[in-house]
């Protein structure tokens, strides 16, 4: 069930919150209730996905239990990581791998047609981070305690972050499960969480979906073999940048807001990425929990910055390459990751060489680079991407674009201003929001308006669900 659906907002979320707080005094019951609600949420998409989630969760939990009991087998967490990589390889990459081998004549290609379980890329990363953290803690001689099955399942499957993150570490959230939900600050947490959810919902409905209605017909035309003129290509690129940013950051805001309504703090995912003045800076602000995961569990194990500048550049490149492949089983994502790997490595080398760039020029370079790579990300087609690149420099004809009605202008201008000058949602709400009652009343009215808007059939899936 989508966060931006009436059944979720009017039924699932209030009922789950109600049951959770009704059982506030009984920690066992309230946490099991949350586990069950999360599994219902997941099953609502497709009951066939549930065994994958439960199987991988129980499998990882057993590995962790075995490791804690038999510390001398320090290969167990690594075996667990391989198990996770195997699961995701089977469900996400099997057809990609066999198809690629077939393309070079090394394999007879028969598509397996395996359905990709929702959220597998996200919950698999959480399993991996847990096992690796256990192994690192053990290696440092720290006390290693494996969590119980209920807490571990809730850590992995907690519905706000289950499908598209933020990617949470076990030590960031499991301890909070045992905090009293009715502790001081309940009204503040509920209010700020609710407003954060609304801000995310507004980003999704009012900007991301509206930008999609502007850009999608243009991308579809190119994917169908047509071409864009200069103005249309820039409009498509701009609309997609807005769509992706407000779609994914909107989802993250909703997840963070809902978690807070249950009394849990989870990590932020975005910090005004379009204000970044360098590509490295961009990745510190965009999908921050993925960047953190890749840094901790890929980049550092590869050697990090140990071994000199060129090895560091190699490690940066390989990390981003893996990050690209994580986004999708397609060579376009590999190339997309390689482009970003090359960009981040070049940025790092530039900085290490002591060179500098005026911030405005840096922002222009970053924006053009990121925007260009998003086109490959969006089309998943080298031919279509190449065609749009040609259009962006006027190779497919000059001319303007038909933007549409006043609402489209408002979305493009308003979205751009918000992306370039607005505060991060977490800053605006968690730090600056004051308990001013008219704001509360406005937020309540806004909630009603957005629900009515959803009821009109405008809801669409979040882009990152496909990963």
């Amino acid at each position: 069930m989508l966060f931006n659906s009436e059944v979720f907002i009017l039924l699932f979320l209030p009922v789950t919150l109600g049951v959770y707080y009704a059982l506030a005094a009984r920690v066992e019951l309230r946490l099991w209730a949350l586990v069950i609600a999360s599994l219902i949420f997941y099953s609502y998409w497709d009951i066939r996905f549930l065994p994958v989630l439960l199987g991988s969760t129980i499998g990882n939990w057993l590995i962790a239990q075995a490791f804690v009991r038999m510390r001398r087998f320090d290969w167990l967490p690594l075996a667990g990581v391989l198990f996770n990589v195997g699961v995701i390889a089977l469900f996400k990459y099997a057809d990609f791998i066999t198809g690629s081998l077939a393309a070079i004549g090394a394999w007879k290609y028969e598509p397996l047609g395996i359905i990709l379980p929702l959220g597998i890329s996200f919950f698999t990363f959480q399993h991996i981070s847990y096992l690796m953290d256990l192994r690192r803690a053990a290696a440092k001689g720290e006390t290693v305690v494996a969590h119980g099955l209920r807490d571990y399942t809730l850590f992995v499957a907690f519905f706000p972050h289950l499908i598209s993150g933020p990617i949470v570490r076990h030590n960031e959230i499991i301890g909070q499960f045992h905090f009293d939900p009715l502790r001081n600050g309940l009204a503040e947490r509920m209010s700020k969480g609710g407003v954060m959810f609304l801000v995310g919902l507004s980003k999704k409905l009012l900007i991301a979906d509206a930008a999609a209605r502007i850009g999608t017909p243009l991308f579809t035309r190119v994917l169908d073999g047509g071409a864009l003129n200069l103005g249309e290509a820039w409009l498509a690129a701009h609309a997609y940048m807005l769509q992706l940013y407000f779609d994914f950051s909107g989802y993250s805001d909703m997840a963070i807001g809902m978690a807070l309504m249950f009394g849990f703090a989870i990590p932020f995912n975005f910090d005004r990425p379009h204000m970044a003045t360098a590509i490295q800076d961009f990745w510190r602000r965009w999908h921050m929990t993925l960047s953190r995961f890749l840094m901790d569990y890929v980049y550092i194990p590869l050697g990090g910055n140990r071994g000199g500048v060129w090895l560091q550049a190699r490690n940066v490149f390989l990390t981003m390459l893996i990050g690209g492949l994580w986004h999708g089983a397609n060579w376009t994502f590999v190339v997309w990751g390689a482009m970003h790997g090359a960009g981040v490595a070049a940025n790092m080398l530039w900085r290490r060489a002591g060179l500098s760039m005026p911030p405005l020029l840096g922002w222009v370079c970053m924006t053009l680079f990121v925007g260009a790579t998003w086109i490959l990300f969006r089309t998943e087609s080298f031919a279509a991407t190449w065609s749009i690149y040609a259009s962006l420099i006027g190779q497919n004809g000059l001319g303007g674009a038909e933007i549409g009605g006043a609402v489209n202008y408002l979305v493009l201008v308003g979205g751009t201003i918000a992306a370039l000058s607005g505060p991060a949602s977490q800053t605006a709400i968690l730090m600056r929001l004051r308990p001013w009652r008219p704001v509360g009343l406005f937020a309540g009215a806004m909630a009603v308006f957005l629900i009515l808007l959803i009821g009109g059939g405008l809801q669409s899936e979040f882009i990152y669900f496909q990963f």
Binding site: M190, A265, L441, I451, G455
Partner: protein
């Protein structure tokens, strides 16, 4: 900036617990109050007359999209007979058909309706009227398109939930801006602040004011259409019409069979102006001929069904002044058409229609 939300109250923005409680009351209470008021308004007004628990008020068809307005009419026990079709059936007046057929007609023909949409409203009417008396069904181009698949919908929204047999799920679909707008219109109409725009029996003339009718302009458009028809591809050598697939025909058969056997079923091919008729020798002409034969065969499998073909070269279809355009006839022509429908249904004959005979073996609607 911290990378996550602090759980500590020490980092919270200024404002004591009491202030935040008041804020929460205004936020959640205000939202619930406003949302609840709107829900109550929608339930009481019930603009589409589909909520089984709404108060029994005198509601009228209100939505300009007939797909929302007509399910309530299809369910109404005020009627025992229905007109199904597209805009080529919209101008048939129930009040006149009532007299001709001694029945109580409702016009459920919807502008630009796909075959699927017509099937859904017919099925709904049949389900709600186990003693239905008469069906008048117009067959036009949407029933004669060939290919492997068919389009279920037009760009206009189609509320499937209004057409199913589950009365409980309707409430889930009412909470939106469109329903609020329609509730406003319904309320204004009920209280006399707004003029009734759509007939209580589903009939509404969509034609412009007759004062603006310009025969010369209409005839000019016929020339263009006739030219287009003449340029259609010719039937290829060795073409076998038996290989044509009409993907919507199973719905026509199922829809007709959903009606009681005793109900009179009059299936008529719409009287397009002769300029719109396919030219002999074209593939289109072969497809239409085969479509007519298949539809007639389907009707032959259903008790009390008769097929009347008005899509022929006749005084009706060759009189230019009968039309606003090649598809849509005038109100006077509609009266003549209704007279012919009654005549044909009662075994009479006219130059304006033929009565195709179904094949002896009722097994020919190939899919």
């Amino acid at each position: 900036m911290n990378s996550s939300i602090s759980n500590s109250d020490s980092n919270a923005a200024p404002g004591g617990p009491g202030e935040w409680r008041r804020f929460a009351r205004w936020f959640f209470g205000g939202g619930l109050g406003l949302g609840g008021f709107i829900a109550l308004w929608i339930i009481i007004v019930d603009p589409f007359d589909t909520l089984f628990f709404s108060p029994p008020l005198d509601r009228v068809p209100i939505a300009t999209n007939a797909r929302f307005s007509f399910p309530a009419l299809a369910r109404s026990n005020k009627f025992d007979s229905a007109i199904i079709g597209t805009s080529t059936g919209r101008l048939l007046r129930p009040e006149m058909l009532d007299r001709l057929f001694a029945a109580r007609f409702v016009n459920l023909a919807m502008n630009s309706a796909t075959a699927y949409e017509q099937y859904r409203i017919l099925e709904l009417f049949a389900r709600q009227h186990p003693s239905a008396k008469t069906l008048v069904m117009g067959i036009d181009v949407v029933w004669c398109e060939t290919g492997a698949t068919f389009e279920k919908y037009t760009p206009r929204p189609f509320p499937e939930w209004m057409y199913d047999s589950n009365a409980f799920n309707d409430v889930l679909h009412h909470y939106n801006l469109y329903t609020i707008e329609q509730a406003g219109r319904q309320f204004a109409t009920m209280t006399g602040m707004r003029r009734l725009k759509y007939g209580r029996d589903g009939y509404t003339s969509f034609l412009p004011d007759a004062a603006g009718y310009d025969l010369a302009k209409v005839q000019k458009s016929f020339v263009t259409v006739r030219g287009n028809e003449a340029q259609r591809p010719k039937t290829p050598p060795g073409f076998d019409p038996a290989t044509l697939n009409f993907p919507t025909h199973f719905m026509l058969r199922d829809g007709l069979k959903a009606l009681p056997g005793a109900a009179k079923k009059i299936i008529f091919f719409a009287p397009y102006h002769v300029a719109q008729h396919p030219v002999a020798g074209t593939l289109k002409a072969a497809e239409w001929a085969e479509c007519k034969a298949r539809v007639t065969a389907i009707a032959g499998q259903v008790p009390n069904a008769i097929t009347l073909d008005f899509m022929i070269n006749s005084p009706f279809t060759t009189t230019d002044s009968n039309y606003w355009d090649v598809l849509h006839y005038t109100l006077a022509a509609a009266d003549a058409l209704m007279g012919d429908l009654a005549l044909g249904a009662n075994g009479g004959s006219s130059e304006n229609f033929t009565v195709p005979k179904p094949p002896p073996a009722p097994d020919s609607d190939q899919q």
